[in-house]
């Protein structure tokens, strides 16, 4: 194989056949999203109501915020399964701080701060001690949520101030919620950072070959540390929005979200082995999951059955192109 052909096979290259595959993946997601949208309008007369559509966005905005940072982390070849645990701990910290009357801004700072500290803790364990992130974050997942359980037990924190609750339930204008605006801003920010900055290129380089990245002068440990802190911070932001929206904190808050966030990222075309993926793909995956679950909800399908749909979609979207390729090469041979 000639070197140019070899170079073209790099999964993240913006030109050549890699870009075509990438583009067709997002095209596939867009087609699925449109099909689900059409199916929803046919299935329920209530779907097209602007307020209903606006409600639908709450199904994915908080998870998607974490998914953006998680996409960076997975592209860099790491993973963070503790994000839901961070939400629980950050939310518990905010609930605990209610007694000091710190106001909405104070609560938000506390939530974000806990997220950053948790991310830092994961980052230190992975980059300083050289431990595999999947194991570390399975551990911290239990640890973070476990601290919530120790503090709260079977109790709950209630009574968040109205100005704080606005962060989760408020509307900027008409049907556009604050969360949706935040989601859109963050999507744009993450897309620019990943696809148009040096830092973004470094993330891809690390995911494709950490050794080569090290020898080309990228501070691998530092970049990974930043990504863990970023994921923690996004979990903190998600915790602020979710706590405000629910208006209460229980230790079981956001239970099993880590798996839904990873599903979103992988469905968005990010390679679980690292080195490839895009933010537009993750945004589309978030729309698909959010719309599908909301549409099924309008049809009174229980949440657990929707999860079959999400799981099947995750496997089908990845399996079908491979199955097609397998059959085609089988015929050629």
């Amino acid at each position: 194989m000639s070197p140019t052909a070899e170079a073209r096979r790099l999964p993240d290259r913006g030109t050549g056949c890699g870009a075509r595959i990438l583009r067709s993946w997002e095209l596939l997601l867009a087609v699925i999203a449109i099909l689900i949208f059409i199916a929803n309008t046919q299935a329920s007369p209530y779907f097209l109501d602007p307020w209903n559509l606006s409600d639908a966005t709450f199904n994915f905005t908080e998870k998607a915020m974490i998914a953006f940072a998680m996409a960076f982390l997975i592209i860099a070849g790491e993973i963070d399964l503790s994000v839901a645990g961070i939400i629980a701990l950050a939310s518990t910290a905010m609930g605990w701080a209610l007694q000091f009357d710190v106001g909405a801004a104070g609560l938000a700072v506390i939530g974000l701060g806990v997220g950053v500290v948790c991310g830092l803790f994961n980052g230190v364990l992975v980059t300083r001690l050289g431990l595999p992130s999947i194991v570390v974050t399975i551990g911290t997942m239990s640890l973070f949520r476990g601290i919530s359980y120790i503090v709260l037990g079977d109790q709950a924190f209630n009574g968040y101030p109205e100005s704080f609750v606005w962060l989760g339930r408020g509307y900027v204008f008409w049907v556009v919620s604050f969360e949706l605006v935040l989601f859109a801003l963050l999507a744009g920010l993450y897309a620019v950072v990943l696809h148009a900055t040096n830092f973004g290129r470094q993330v891809y380089a690390i995911g494709n070959n950490p050794t080569a990245a090290t020898f080309s002068g990228i501070r691998v440990a530092r970049v990974k540390m930043i990504l863990f802190v970023l994921t923690g911070a996004m979990s903190g932001i998600a915790a602020i929005c979710l706590t405000a929206r629910l208006g209460s904190t229980r230790p079981s808050i956001a239970f099993a979200w880590e798996l839904e966030v990873v599903t979103m990222v992988v469905l968005g075309g990010v390679s679980i082995l690292g080195g490839a993926g895009s933010i537009p793909g993750v945004v589309l995956a978030a729309l698909i999951i959010g719309m599908a679950t909301f549409g099924l909800g309008l049809l009174n399908v229980p949440g657990i059955v929707m999860s079959i749909f999400t799981g099947a979609l995750l496997i089908a979207v990845i399996a079908l192109p491979r199955l097609y390729r397998l059959i085609r090469t089988g015929r050629a041979a």
């Binding site: 999947i134 551990g139 239990s142 496997i315």
Partner: protein, 324 residues
């Protein structure tokens, strides 16, 4: 041989386990009594069995997050079968449970083998699919104790020599693994595939097929545990064993099974599971709120993995990619 065992991570884990038991014993006499230890082993048997199945999968550089959902689905199916046909012999029911578990494991394994989809993605998907299927087959209903036949509930509780049959099943699986993993070609193939997949191919081991076999065995064991779990707690509902998949991985990690594959022992997996089980049983005895358990097992995982990583022989300067 004794000296090499004393230096191994299993010996350290065993020492930690004994220290834990003795620590609780000093404050609450009777904790280390043989009958109580047998009760703890019995209580932990299901985790031991599943950790051994998970060990095989992890050895081949894969992971199976769907084991708890598999367990819950087979448990529900056996409970419904039993409620509908109370006269069905227990042998048939257990065979059905194992068969269904094998099938679900095979589905995971086929996707990993034939389509080469990373196992974490496959089992993340089947984790939710299998769990959702429980709701579909049961319609969200519970199968309660009074709907199950006496034989269904009694079997794992039957005591032989002071240990219930549940505990004996755990012991039998441990014995089978001790022989199978160390003394058979297939057992060694799991290590070969995880240790160096490239070299495994050259020795005539098909990597994908071996991974498939690991998933099938783990699935079959999860099916068996489905019956054991539901019959032991005498209730089946959609959320049975929710979140248990991570406890299984935690037991393996504490037991020193390397998530990067190819490294780990049956003794380690068993001790890792027993360590978690002992903590779970010690908390109420020591008067600590059960709400502490999650944080403690999380901390135990982190300490264990940090400790094992430090002792890994021949560390390279650049960390090799952790397989997942």
């Amino acid at each position: 041989m004794i000296r090499s065992f004393l230096r191994s991570r299993e010996a350290i884990l065993l020492a930690a386990l004994i220290a834990l038991v003795l620590l609780v014993e000093t404050r609450f006499a009777g904790f280390a009594a043989p009958s109580n230890l047998a009760a703890i082993f019995n209580d932990t048997s299901i985790l031991v069995i599943l950790a051994l199945g998970q060990m095989l999968v992890i050895l081949t550089r894969c992971i199976d997050l769907s084991l708890a959902s598999n367990l819950a689905l087979t448990g529900m199916v056996t409970a419904m079968l039993n409620a509908a046909m109370p006269d069905l012999p227990m042998g048939v029911l257990i065979a059905a449970a194992i068969g269904l578990g094998l099938l679900m494991g095979a589905f995971n394994g086929l996707l990993v083998w034939k389509l080469e989809i990373p196992s974490i993605v496959v089992t993340l998907g089947t984790l939710t699919i299998y769990r959702g299927l429980i709701f579909l087959v049961s319609g969200g209903e519970w199968v309660n104790s009074h709907e199950m036949s006496a034989a269904y509930k009694a079997l794992p509780r039957t005591e032989i020599l002071g240990l219930p049959l549940l505990g004996w099943t755990g012991a039998a699986v441990v014995a089978a693994f001790a022989v199978g993993v160390n003394r058979t070609a297939l057992g060694r193939a799991f290590y070969a595939v995880g240790g160096n997949p490239g070299a495994a191919i050259y020795t005539g081991i098909e990597v994908g097929r071996t991974r498939f076999q690991a998933f099938v065995i783990a699935g079959g064991l999860a099916g068996l545990c489905g019956y054991l779990w539901v019959s032991r707690y005498a209730v089946a509902y959609t959320d049975v064993a929710g979140g248990f998949e991570l406890d299984i991985v935690a037991a393996c990690v504490i037991g020193g099974i390397s998530i990067a594959g190819g490294l780990g022992t049956v003794t380690g997996a068993v001790l890792g599971a027993l360590f978690l089980g002992t903590i779970k049983n010690a908390l109420p005895v020591a008067g600590i709120s059960p709400f502490w358990q999650m944080a403690i097992s999380g901390a135990a995982i982190i300490v264990a993995v940090a400790f094992h990583a430090r002792r890994q022989p021949g560390r390279v300067i650049l960390k090799p990619e952790a397989a997942r």
